[in-house]
Symmetry: C2
Subunit: 243 residues, 2 copies
């Protein structure tokens, strides 16, 4: 069987893995992934065969996985969160044209927009936009444009990759753009190390968020104009009447 | 213990449930939900105590769950997909102020934007917006505004509640608005009955989608300007070089 599963492993712990993801990993001959994510999986599946690659080696990693699958192995590529949200699913399909006969399937997982939301309460209870602040693969001008439009539409916004060593001021820049559309009192939140040891969260206003430094293990949420704080949680109402 | 868990059960089948969601439901004294979702859970947990309510009875359902939790029961409210994406999490927090002492926790689940994405391939491989076309709780003018802005930003778009008996032409209206910003050849897809019996999907252009009637059990995906069809799947590249 030449089969390659692209598996979203959720935030990291076994509890937030889907039953299908667990079964898929258990039945794989080989699990391929970025070393940090492979380590998370080894915690609950220590006896599998693994191949890990470094960060930013996504193309090599997916080619390696497709090659191994071509050798009639059942291979899984693991992605943090979901397989398709800034994950490897698209890249695997793009590369698969060179590996005919490999069956590909995608196993969804709980992406940070959902796992982080659960930690904060209910921040994305209405229409929302997910935007990555990483400009490694996307021009910053397009990221700016999307931030402005999402701000103008009063979307709830979830920011992936809000910071890195080289992009320490990107979250500040994003907040400054959003402040042209959203009130400085807009309720925001961020979660660090979702589902991993040291998980923490904070709820604050958009103007406070502007002056906050977060790291690359953080997911940021910006509320809409109706978002409120209830019992230390960030809650965006859907709009039900008669409460 | 006065505890209320708001549990996202994923698309419906047990396989796409998280391990935490399964454990939370198993350890509950009572499971409350819309009758259709309760029936899905009964399939794999037949021996629990259940209370179901009709559609559009969301406020009553959450009040009932909070009341039962106040009686020192461990209660779960089940939501299709995720607990916080058009789910009950926000409403439970809003109502909880009248039920002091009830501990609330949110168990995330695989929302249709992720489970549907996995069926289609990789449609949301870049920044995306999730918009509900239901105007029961949201003015249509705001939905229109968000569609236009998401179109202008070349976001991938996922539409929830694309149709109902009373809103048969809403998807058509949405596509017409998007055609002002997106090419008529934009790759789109839709998935019906995700993770349930009779699951099916279709991939088509935006102009074809405009003239397609879908039902309320369908989730719709509209690609960005880079979305392509690869081996009958809908794929939005992240932008990796050197393929």
């Amino acid at each position: 069987m030449k089969s390659l599963s692209v598996v979203g492993i959720g935030p990291g712990n076994e509890l937030n893995l889907s039953i299908l993801a667990k079964e898929t990993l258990e039945s794989s001959d080989l699990i391929v992934g970025y070393s940090k994510y492979v380590d998370l999986v080894k915690d609950y599946l220590p006896d599998k065969e693994y191949l890990d690659t470094g960060m930013t080696k996504e193309v090599d990693r997916c080619k390696l996985a497709l090659e191994k699958a071509s050798e009639s192995k059942k291979v899984s590529v693991v992605c943090s969160g979901d397989a398709g949200v800034y994950g490897m699913a698209g890249l695997v399909y793009q590369l698969s044209v060179n590996y005919p006969g490999v069956e590909i399937d995608i196993v969804p997982g709980i992406s940070a927009v959902l796992s982080g939301s659960a930690v904060l309460g209910a921040p994305i209870g209405h229409d929302f936009a997910v935007i990555s602040l990483s400009d490694l693969l996307t021009p910053w001008e397009l990221i700016e444009k999307r931030l402005k439009l999402a701000g103008d539409g009063d979307f709830c916004i979830c920011l992936y990759n809000p910071s890195s060593h080289k992009r320490k001021d990107y979250l500040k820049k994003a907040c400054e753009l959003l402040l042209d559309y959203k009130s400085e009192d807009t309720i925001c939140g961020y979660v660090r190390n979702i589902g991993r040891s040291g998980e923490s969260y904070n709820i604050l206003t958009l103007s406070e968020l502007k002056d906050t430094e977060v790291d690359m293990f953080t997911t940021v949420f910006i509320g809409n104009s109706n978002t409120e704080i209830i019992d230390n949680k960030m809650v965006t109402p859907r709009g039900y009447k008669g409460l």
